[in-house]
Structures are given as C-alpha cells and as structure tokens.
C-alpha cells in the first residue's frame, strides 16, 4: 500500500506539488491524471525517494522508500524512456539491476522474453527505437517481480501496437493482483485502462475516486439545439422547466434533456428547429473542465478543496466562464 501524505515540493518560488495526499488502492490500475506540468512526474520521483520533498512523506507498506531492502522487489518503476547507458547492451543493463537487488540472473532472460527483446538483447541499447527503449524500461520495472508498479506516461511516443501492448500489460498485471500506478495527461487513455483515478492540477489534488464514479458524475448527456427563433425557444423551454445554455457557435445545450419532449415542445409552439441532436459530454472535456477550475481557484487565492466541481446544472456555462476568465487574464497580462 502506497500512502502519500501532505507531500509538498517547492522549486524556488514555484510550488510544484502542494500538500498532496492520497492512497493508491491495491490490486487495481490507478490512473494518475493531470495536464502537463501538474506535478505528476515530480510526485512519482518523490515516491521513489529520487527527489527530496520540501515537506510531507510517502510510505510504502509503512516504510520510507530508502528503508526498503532490495526495493526492486517491492516497486518496479518506469520513469523515463531510455534511461540507459547507450553503450551498454539490454542484457547487461538488466543484469546490473538484477545484481544490485540480488534478483536471480534467470529473471533477466525471462523479462527479455516477456517484452520481446530477446533478439536484440546483446545489442547496445543506443540504437534502440523509442518503443524498444520503453520495452526495456518495462522489463527493468518487472525484473524484481514487484507487487507495485509505477509507470510515468508509458504510452508517450509509442505506435498504436505499442500502446495496445502496454494497455493489456497493465490490465494483466492488475489481474495478477498487483498494484499499478500509471500517470497520463490523456483522459481517453485512462478511460480504457484505469479502475481508479487520482487527478491533480497545479500540484493539488482535484479528485480521487473510482473510474465508475467519475463516469457517472461527468459523462452527462445533453441535447444540442439550433433554431432561427432563439428567444421563442428559450421561453418555451423555460416554461417547461428546462434550462438551455447558449454555446459559442449559436447552438444551445439542454443538459439531461429528452430529445422527444423538446421536439414536441417546439412543434407545439410552432418553433422551427434546425438541429436537435442528443449528445454525450466526453470524459476528456470533464477532465479539462476540472483542471481549468484548478487554475481558476488558484488565481483567486481561495483555499478550495472541492474534489468535484458542481455537476449537472450549467456545466457548460461553468466551462464557458472559466474560459472567459482565462481570456480576461491573458488580456490583463498583456495590458500590464
């Protein structure tokens, strides 16, 4: 069990990680999600005792990382692709890692087989492609047969085949009962692999919930409408107790609206509709909205620890407001 407690990292004036606390549930894939620069990699490096936290701590089964004897048998990590000496062969790279933690030498061959690098094991890794480097990194992470695995942006720069391979690998590792903690800046990637989500923005925790809860709370359906008589339509909708939110391009959205009912309503009022389409908000948008909020709360200096922004009512409007405010900020910056 990994517990992150009030973890903080400050680089000069910049607060990269801000009192971050969460636990990584055992035996499932946990997605560690946040936009680029949110502090994901810094957090992961602090979890491995590579970077020193300004304050706070991380414990693995109750111990600090540096207290683990032979840590590769507890946690396997893939931090960056090709963190290998280009002149050393893949085999020798895994060999020194195995020796440092007294892992039997046969594991080196087994891992090279598993990741499909047996043919090139005796070649110097400097000539490896990104995908091959990533496979070597995964072989290194799995070397000690650890219960916990950490991957930092493992699919970055991989071809579709490589992405699929990593997805399936992570799922099968979790099925074996291992804890998988994987970072990404892509919601779509997490949606297909993760069972649990930890979302951060600007170093702060924004959400910590199961993937199912996230989908329930964020994947709202709405009806998109276009009409040449917007006032009449808005009145009619308001009369029926529905709220329509205008969008940038002149269309309107009715959250959780029933297309049949709206269509009938328009006909009863004699309003022409040019579009009536049921839609579903993507998880990607929900994620964007969540992290945009984090920017907003931060700049206003409020100490908001809301893990979820307000749902349903006016969520498009909320997103819109955030956008407008951002634009306003950019404008003010330019002027000053």
């Amino acid at each position: 069990m990994i517990e992150v407690h009030e973890l903080t990292k400050r680089y000069g004036e910049t607060l990269a990680v801000d009192r971050l606390s969460f636990q990584v549930p055992q035996g499932v894939v946990t997605g560690f999600l946040g936009p680029n620069g949110a502090g994901k990699s810094t957090t992961m490096r602090m979890m491995l005792d590579l970077d020193r936290p300004t304050s706070g701590r991380v414990s693995i089964d109750g111990k600090a990382y540096h207290q683990l004897s032979e840590p590769l048998k507890y946690i396997g990590a893939l931090l960056e692709a090709k963190a290998v000496h280009p002149g050393r062969t893949a085999y020798n790279h895994l060999l020194w890692l195995a020796q440092s933690n007294r892992i039997p030498r046969r594991r080196v061959d087994e891992m090279l087989d598993l990741v499909g690098l047996r043919e090139v094991a005796r070649r110097r890794s400097g000539g490896f492609s990104l995908g091959m480097g990533q496979r070597l990194g995964i072989a290194a992470a799995l070397l000690g047969d650890p219960r916990i695995l950490m991957f930092d942006e493992p699919v970055n720069g991989l071809d579709p085949e490589g992405i699929l391979w990593i997805r399936n690998l992570m799922k099968s590792l979790a099925e074996e009962g291992r804890t998988v903690f994987v970072s990404s800046h892509l919601m779509s990637e997490m949606a297909v692999t993760a069972d649990h989500l930890v979302v951060i923005g600007q170093g702060r925790l924004l959400a910590n919930l199961s993937m199912n809860d996230f989908i329930d709370q964020n994947s709202h359906s709405f009806v998109q409408l276009r009409t040449p008589q917007p006032e009449a339509l808005l009145d009619a909708l308001a009369g029926a107790g529905m709220t329509a939110t205008p969008k940038d391009d002149g269309a309107f959205e009715v959250v959780d609206g029933d297309p049949a009912r709206i269509g009938d309503l328009a006909r009863d009022h004699g309003i022409a509709l040019h579009e009536l389409s049921p839609q579903r908000a993507s998880l990607e948008e929900a994620f964007l909205r969540m992290t945009a909020d984090s920017v907003e709360y931060r700049t206003h200096g409020e100490d908001v620890h809301r893990t979820m922004p307000p749902a349903a009512n006016g969520w498009g409007a909320d997103w819109q407001r955030a956008q407008d405010r951002n634009r306003q900020k950019i404008k003010t910056k330019k002027e000053s």
Binding site: R45, A83, S100, N101, R102
Partner: protein, 255 residues
Amino acid sequence: MAQPGAVLLSEWTKVKTVRSTWITLVVAFVVTVGLGALISAVSSSQFKNLSDTEKLTFDPTAVSFSGIILGQLAVIVFAVLVVGNEYSSGMIRATLAAVPQRTTLLVCKAAVVLAMVLPVSLLTSFTAFFLGQALLGSHRTTLGADHVLRAVLGMAVYMTLIALLSLGVSFMLRKPVLSLGLLMPFFFLISPILSAVPKVKAVAHYFPDTAGSQMVHVVSSTTVPFGPLEGFFICLAWVAAALLAGLLLLRGRDA
C-alpha cells in the same frame, strides 16, 4: 539496507560493460608508458648538454614517469565517466531507485574505481619504469636503489588517487562536460602554470598533483617544502574532501 556485496557486484558489472572503461584505461597505459619512453630516450641522448646541477639532481625514475602529465588525463576521463554517464543518460534514476542508500552507492562506486585503476596503475608504473630505464642507458637506475621501489609504487598510488579525486568531483558536478572542463585544464594547465609563478607557487605546492607527484621523486625537489609521505597525505586529503563533498551533495539533492 541494500547488501553492499550486491551493490559492489552491480557496480562492477556496470563498469566493465561499457567500452569507455577499456578505452580510457588502455589510453592511460599507452600514453604514460609511451611518452615516458620517448622522454627517457631524449634525456639519455641530451644528457651531456645538461648543466652540472641538472646532472647532479637527475632523477631517472621520475624521468621515466614523465608521461603521466598526459596519461593522467585519461584516468580522469575514466573516473568522471563512471558517474557522469549516469547523469547524462538519466540512468542515475534507475540506479538510485535500485539502491536508494546513497552512501552505500558512493562507497561501492569508489571501491570499484579503486579495484579497476590500481592494477592498471601498477602495470603502467612498472612498465614505464623498466622501459624508461632501458632507454636511459648509462644514466639508468635500478629497482633496488634507494627509494626507487617506493617511487614506482608511489606512481601507481598517485594515478589511483587522481581517479578517486575525479570521481568525487564528478559526483559534485554530475555533468561530465563540467567535470572534465574543470579537471582537465586544472591538471594539465593551471596547476603547472601556477607552480611556476613566484609566491603563488607556495600555495600550488599543496595542489593534489604537485603534492602527489612528490611520491614519484627519488631525488627530493628543492623547492617543495615536504617529502613523499607528506605529499601522499596531502593528496589523500584532497581525495577525501572531494568524495565527502560529493557524498553530501549526492545525499542532499534531487536525482
């Protein structure tokens, strides 16, 4: 705690599985022996042109070791790359994730550098000595003469200490370019130049190379105010300081 034996074995594997190790150490041997032989041969043929004082203080052992001026640069490169390569490739993170006990790591790396450089240094110093003496003809000395064996062993110790000093500096500066940019000019240019400048040279005598090179002199220098044993300890103090500073920085900062 990580097993020091396991870490030693792992570091040993790292060092012997890259080409730069073998290239730098072979270059150190070839340059030191080759340049020493050349200078020995020239000294032998030019001996009659030397002044009387120079003839009296002629140190055939030290002359056969003249190649170290260049040869030590290869030793420096070897030691710097042992650490610097890990930082430049990002591999240091894999290393520290596998061995988070940073003191153990530094001690094991130093032990591996010692184990690698000392045999090469012994081979280099004895080869340079015998080849140099053969080329010095009638001006030669023998291993049995006073202080000569001490000087030959001192030469091997000097090379090893320079390697460990460079390792410490490399742990401090991390990037190989920085470490080499500091060490190479220092040993090749700055120290020899400062040693020739009046007043400043009193300080320059305590630099690791000048102090350490007292170990290889059979005929004591007239300008340096201390002997070979003191020279050894001054050099050792530099090594200890560099490794300690490297350790403190390694322990304190982000990888």
